[in-house]
Point group: C2
Amino acid sequence: MNPTEFNQKIAEVRNDRDRGASELARYCLDILAWAARELPVDEVTPWRETLFRFACELAETRPSMAPIANLLRQWREALARDCIMELPLARHTAVARAEALIALSRRAVIECADHTAGLLGSNRTVMTHSFSSTVLEVCRLLKDTGLRMIVTESRPREEGRQLARQLSSWGVPTTYITDAQMGVFVARADAVLVGADSLLADGAIVNKAGTHLLALAAQENKVAFYVCCESFKRHEAGESPAMEEMSQTELGVPDWPAVTVRNVYFEVTPARLVSAWIDEKGVRHRIEKP
Amino acid sequence: MNPTEFNQKIAEVRNDRDRGASELARYCLDILAWAARELPVDEVTPWRETLFRFACELAETRPSMAPIANLLRQWREALARDCIMELPLARHTAVARAEALIALSRRAVIECADHTAGLLGSNRTVMTHSFSSTVLEVCRLLKDTGLRMIVTESRPREEGRQLARQLSSWGVPTTYITDAQMGVFVARADAVLVGADSLLADGAIVNKAGTHLLALAAQENKVAFYVCCESFKRHEAGESPAMEEMSQTELGVPDWPAVTVRNVYFEVTPARLVSAWIDEKGVRHRIEKP
């Protein structure tokens, strides 16, 4: 892997609209494993310095997605700790570290989904917004237990289609609606379940735009609002991450002179609208303030 | 006009997705004026009976749109009151009654917009959802006073495009967003302004799906939520009107076996989320309950 190839990967991660935060974080670890294996240098010091730089650059590509920064920081720290001076072994160990973190992330998703399925129970109507691979895993676990889903289309990219298609292939009775109908249909759900791209220190979540509206509508209708996301999604820094904005062309409208098209992908939903957070360790219910 | 032509008009009104409630009500009066003028009968009694039936059938086409029922009832009542037994004069009078109600409806919209523009004032950022001809008239009145607009696309038919195009032609700086971004952008508005298809007895409004979400987000952000609609939009009956559902094909998704596509056009936004109602008589602010 040369710097040009790496820059192509950086651009690919930055422009990715299909993968969720966890999946993209694992893809970043794949890229780093590839770089660790293939970087065309003969000495361990420039090899390690380049990898450090790559990891830092990748970590900054998607500010709304905490797991990328978190998993890549863990990988960098392991690389620094290992401090192997023999290049072939250093390459081998760095790859193994990436693979171990990928496995850890995958296991966290599965355990998180397992706790969430237990919390929801059988014969439930669950509403979601956007596409979360953790929510999909929960649906897989519950698909033969009378689960019914309500799925929003999730403009502009309409990730809801992908989810509806998968649910249909499992035979899960699914209602598919526009985002604007969230307020109409949330009352028919036993619970709302969303994933998250990041979890802030105070319990607020960063997720696809529209999540905040769904949380408000759930509260209005006294429907539980659950967030399932692995602890890798915790945003450690004090400040809220930047809310990424994508291309205006995704809205598919003409270029009107006085009109500015906005396409902010993510938004913060405050902790007070969340009924419970589920991660790989279990369920944490919100404690009502008196 | 024969019954076949009338049934075509009924279908046209039932399937209309472009006109708002007031405009469609005026179009129904146009249809009745045409029928009053052209019905191929020689006696006043079958002429009047047929017109009554036509007016009743038209009034029932769009349950979410109160002005249709209201204006057509007023027309029917005038027809019964006038009770002219000479057919040419009866035809002429019925047409004049329809034209007078059309003018009354138009004037009500203009006066309602005038009061609304006065309430908003100059140099304001106003957010709206869907397309309302009354809101458009407010924008026309304020377009040279520093007005800025935030417009949602309003899936599935994307009426927001029509509004954005018109605002752009007036040079009104406009932000165009997906419905899912309402919660992100409402905080940047000085006020939310929507029209309504019907106004319920308790002050709740019937408007395009998504309005309730915008009202919740406005409340969350302490942004005023105004409804401008003429008094013809009052729904007089005790019960809420049916919320019309349109064709599933408008969402443009494939036919997945386990998936039911829903396309509910209208929803009720409760009165407690409305800051003020504006009609042709003036502004009525909500009185906070202690």
